[in-house]
Assembly symmetry: C2
Homo-oligomer: 372 residues x 2
Amino acid sequence: MKVGVIGGGQLARMMIPEAIALGIDLKVFAESEGMSAEKSTTVVGDYTNAEQLGWFADGVDVITFDHEHVPITTLQQVEKSGTSVQPPSEALQFAQNKLLMRTRLSEAGLPMPEWEEIKTPDQLGRFISSHGGRVIVKTPIGGYDGKGVRVISDANEVEDWFANIDKLGGSLLAEQLVEFVSEIAVLSARRPSGEWRAWPAVETVQLNGVCSQVIAPAPNVNQRQALEIAERIAAELQVTGVMAVEMFQTRDGELLINELAMRPHNSGHFTIDGSITSQFEQHLRAVLDLPLGLTDLTSEVSVMVNLLGTEKGTDFLENFADTMYRFPEAKIHTYGKSPRAGRKMGHITMVGDDLETVRSRALLAAAVISGS
Amino acid sequence: MKVGVIGGGQLARMMIPEAIALGIDLKVFAESEGMSAEKSTTVVGDYTNAEQLGWFADGVDVITFDHEHVPITTLQQVEKSGTSVQPPSEALQFAQNKLLMRTRLSEAGLPMPEWEEIKTPDQLGRFISSHGGRVIVKTPIGGYDGKGVRVISDANEVEDWFANIDKLGGSLLAEQLVEFVSEIAVLSARRPSGEWRAWPAVETVQLNGVCSQVIAPAPNVNQRQALEIAERIAAELQVTGVMAVEMFQTRDGELLINELAMRPHNSGHFTIDGSITSQFEQHLRAVLDLPLGLTDLTSEVSVMVNLLGTEKGTDFLENFADTMYRFPEAKIHTYGKSPRAGRKMGHITMVGDDLETVRSRALLAAAVISGS
């Protein structure tokens, strides 16, 4: 069994242990030398180049992804050559293009914030006026971790995007600013033959647009409702592999779909230490169309805290001994990246019975390892 | 942090995922090409050659082991050059040489079967007569998985060993055949600065001298007594890294030390899926003198079943889909070896609340994946 992963970041890196356990040969197509996943068999290339991807695809059973940036037209060329791509371009386009996603999920009647495709500043001005004077504007393609997303109260604030609107696909996406009480994510996996399994919905805590903490399971959410939304999306869009559905929960318990990712996701890192089957193992099983593993949690509660690069460029390894001494229960995961402020360098997961204990210790451990 | 592992088998292989998570650079010194641990940075060489080991040791922070076959004199040369070897030769000699181990542990007053150093067939004959007519004879060095161990009732049955006794170190080891009700193993880890942690004692089930099943925790054993024996051995022998102490439990609950291994051990594979800290992570932490992780079990019970190569050379991958479909809770681990009858090809672990359910399903899953 050979799986080719496009992208050499931490998601590809965390597939390596699972591939080793299952005897899967993992090949990584990385953007550059020395990336997180370099412990696997790695080739370096340009993922927008269909010819290079064709060479990479030769001899693997399936191509899958560490990121969502491969152009759909490039993927279609790879698919035409007969290689299995999971998720297929037909599904992946909805994760790449937020406008397509909103359109498609609206047709399916799924719950979302109010939104509108925006072509001109005037149109955006009207959307702002009719939505409380403050809205979210997104570039349909290319945003992640808060990039390509702005909260604005005047169309001028995305003037640079309008100036380059052709490069951005000709439109922007405006969305109602949802007053939420919590952010929820549902991780699930679906395989080509249709089997679908989800982990319990989790609560995510964002800081400056970047995921900072994940609490599993989410303490206050209608689990059945959250999972039903994810299952409908997976089936409607014929998604394969792991998918993350990020949602807002409003004061009255309504769930509104925010973003989709069709790959393992930061909100599912806790599954490595907190579930029978990790999202990385499940993704490999799903894209190979192997039966999915149990998604039961192994503890009452798991808390994951991201380790972000600090301003002073802390080398987390220096604080390993201290952290391990004070937190023998901490599961430390590093991504092998050189430190840069705000960069996702690793994460810590803790499991246990009592949310407040686990959460406060996980946060403290993250502070100690970050030298703060 | 760079760790060099001598030996490229499944134990080195299972250190790779933990090394990736902790950002440890793992270098493997393998016996040949294409071994289980080849997914790591691997050099191939002769582990009895001190010069080659010296090159390998250059640039790593510590040397440790996947097996116990490196000659002590070779290791002493490596140590003299200033490289940290964990466990050090001073400790490792007791895992390599069963006669030294029996002598040393007898001096320490630890509980063992009756034993005697044997130089001649006559002496062996007398030991047999005075121990019920049936005893165990071992070659002091080089035995594993039932090799170098015979149950005999006549000195003639080891005539070939007497003929080569000089090559075997000049002596054999005779031991009382213990009537045991169960076999127990205690896995623990100790780091150079003295910290020691153990997992709960497990029960091991052997088939033809090879470990077949492990049940964690052992259902009927005095845990405190078992762990105290392991702790005393670790401290007396100044062991570092993971150590397995295999013991017999007699009808009246007495524990008698059978074998020692100073490395991760088959009886501890369940820790990957059944404990907060796996034996492979703990071994890396211990040999680097980093604080040890919690050894709490994450489930009431774990059962590990070895997957042995079949007579017909079954490729377990062929039965993956069936096994995963019927046993979505099974954790499958493969070692990347070509099939050979009786060879340890992988293992399956299951965790749960009820021993009999978990055990019967784990055994059934192992049968399905083995195509039997």
